[in-house]
């Protein structure tokens, strides 16, 4: 009956993922305003944290003598949380207005829908990261780690966006509402807070020290920051990558489960 040869399998899945990712970009191109919260918040973070806490660098043992080197990666990661949740939010939007049904009515596995959405979030995270870097560069940001340092920041922010997008998708698929995204945003913000965002781990006292030590985001912060506060080192790289990978796997399974429950 159908004249088209209907492609299936891995190739088809990849095409679908790509198409969903591209769709996100098309939406952004249509309404760039959607980007404002993603960029404004992290830029505000880098400005106010470097402004308010600039004298921290005078304390013995602070990792760098330039506050921008310390705060820019932190602000970029906060921006990545926003980007990730933003990606999940557009999925929640789709569920509310029915567009999601169109995706669900396609033959084949649900996985490409998920992969496309997180891919979009990862790409989207480049925008706040770049915004933060530009603003910090105006303030005198340095990059002793060179290009590898820059790469590890972009990898870390993309990974962070993926993790929080998956968390957001899990909540969106379960609760099917846009409002529920606030929860994920708060979780992201708070867990960044309970880490080494503003001061090195040695500065932290008591329970906060323990929390930061156990917090996987601490490894991600080290991964993202290493090229800005010193030389690159494998010891600072692999724990961050492992943390991101582990969170992605856990988040991915949770989101996939929630998705198959939502749409059999």
């Amino acid at each position: 009956m159908s004249t088209a040869t209907v492609a299936t399998g891995a190739g088809h899945g990849l095409n679908v993922s790509l198409a969903i990712c591209v769709r996100g970009m098309q939406r952004l191109r249509a309404r760039p305003v959607l980007l404002i919260p993603t960029v404004v918040m992290p830029v505000f973070f880098v400005v106010s944290f470097t402004g308010a806490f600039s004298s921290l660098t005078r304390i013995e043992g602070y990792g760098t003598s330039n506050i921008f080197n310390w705060m820019a990666p932190y602000a970029a990661l906060q921006g990545a949380v926003f980007a990730g949740v933003g990606g999940a939010m557009s999925a929640a939007d789709d569920i509310e207005n029915g567009f999601f049904d169109r995706l669900l009515l396609t033959p084949g596995s649900r996985l490409p829908i998920l992969v496309g959405t997180i891919g979009y979030s990862a790409v989207r995270s480049f925008i706040p990261t770049t915004g933060v870097l530009l603003v910090a560069a105006l303030g005198g940001l340095e990059l002793p780690g060179g290009v590898p340092g820059l790469v590890s920041l972009y990898v870390a922010t993309a990974g962070m966006a993926v993790v929080f997008c998956l968390m957001g998708l899990t909540v969106a698929y379960r609760l099917r509402s846009l409002r529920s995204m606030m929860i994920v945003q708060v979780i992201g913000f708070s867990s960044m807070f309970l880490s080494i965002g503003q001061v090195p781990i040695d500065f932290l006292d008591g329970w906060l020290h323990d929390a930061a030590r156990l917090n996987p985001l601490t490894n991600v912060l080290r991964l993202s920051r290493q090229g800005f506060v010193g030389e690159m080192s494998w010891d600072l790289t692999w724990p961050g990558l492992v943390a991101l990978l582990a969170m992605t796997v856990v988040g991915g399974l949770a989101a996939l489960r929630a998705l198959t429950r939502l749409a059999p």
Partner: protein
């Protein structure tokens, strides 16, 4: 309102009370929505206290036993800002869904409508402040100025609600949109960071220091902080109370003017 002066004021007073009650009850029903405004500033204070202990030894930092003492005013200002913008966005909601028109059509004076909303938020803010104070004291903070300073803190919190809430109401009347009013919240959030709330301005540098020093919030926070850290001083108390009181008068007048303008344009 052509009634004789005294009874007119009495009626307006009871109307304000009624509308205050409405908004307080509204807040109580939405206890869940009040909680983030309490929990977030407390989390911030807890984290900052645990991460900034080494800051206390820096030359130029005020003499305190714990960062907790230093951050108390900031925590209260932040908690207050949450509820204050909500008062504005509720007003915008009243405009959107037509409840305001019903109020305006009834023989209620204009300013109780505004003050009622704000007074409700102010009551809630005072309660929040008392809760925050209790928790801080429990965790070892010390208010050198004693009970009198604590009372000033509570009143300052209430006055700040009137300032921020009045501003949000102006926005509500101008735009009539809840979303636009909601946008003022990040603005307030930003301006708290760009003040002396979380760090002393004398340890800042460059343009940021200039902004923070000239931020009216710093002018309120600094005397309050001196009351907490150094002890009672009438001059500080007057500055701490006087500035927000004057600002509140300005923003509420602006809100009344915005309401009148809204009524004048068909």
């Amino acid at each position: 309102m052509t009634g004789s002066g005294m009874s007119g004021v009495l009626t307006a007073g009871s109307q304000t009370w009624e509308l205050t009650r409405r908004s307080v009850v509204g807040e109580r029903r939405q206890l869940l929505s009040v909680m983030p405004g309490l929990i977030f500033p407390l989390l911030l204070a807890a984290v900052y206290t645990k991460q900034f202990s080494r800051v206390l030894d820096m030359p130029g930092f005020p003499e305190v036993d714990s960062f907790l003492d230093f951050i108390l005013p900031a925590c209260i200002v932040q908690a207050v800002s949450f509820g204050a913008t909500a008062a504005g966005s509720e007003l915008a909601l009243d405009i959107e869904n037509g409840f305001l028109d019903r109020l305006l059509a009834s023989p209620v004076a204009r300013w109780p409508i505004l003050l009622g909303r704000l007074a409700g938020a102010a009551v809630v803010a005072s309660v929040k402040t008392i809760v925050i104070l209790a928790l801080f004291l429990l965790f070892g903070a010390r208010v050198a100025g004693g009970p009198a300073a604590m009372l000033v803190l509570v009143v300052v919190a209430a006055l700040l609600v009137l300032v921020i809430g009045g501003l949000a109401q102006v926005m509500a009347f101008r735009t009539g949109s809840q979303e636009a009013v909601g946008a003022t919240f990040p603005l307030i959030f930003v301006s708290i960071f760009m003040s002396s709330a979380f760090f002393p301005t004398n340890l800042m540098t460059g343009w940021f220091k200039v902004v923070a020093e000239n931020n009216p919030l710093s002018w309120i926070i600094n005397p309050v902080r001196r009351l907490v850290i150094n002890g009672w001083s009438s001059a500080d108390a007057i500055q701490a109370l006087g500035l927000p009181a004057a600002l509140a008068a300005v923003t509420i007048s602006a809100a009344v003017m915005a309401l009148n303008r809204r009524l004048a344009t068909p």
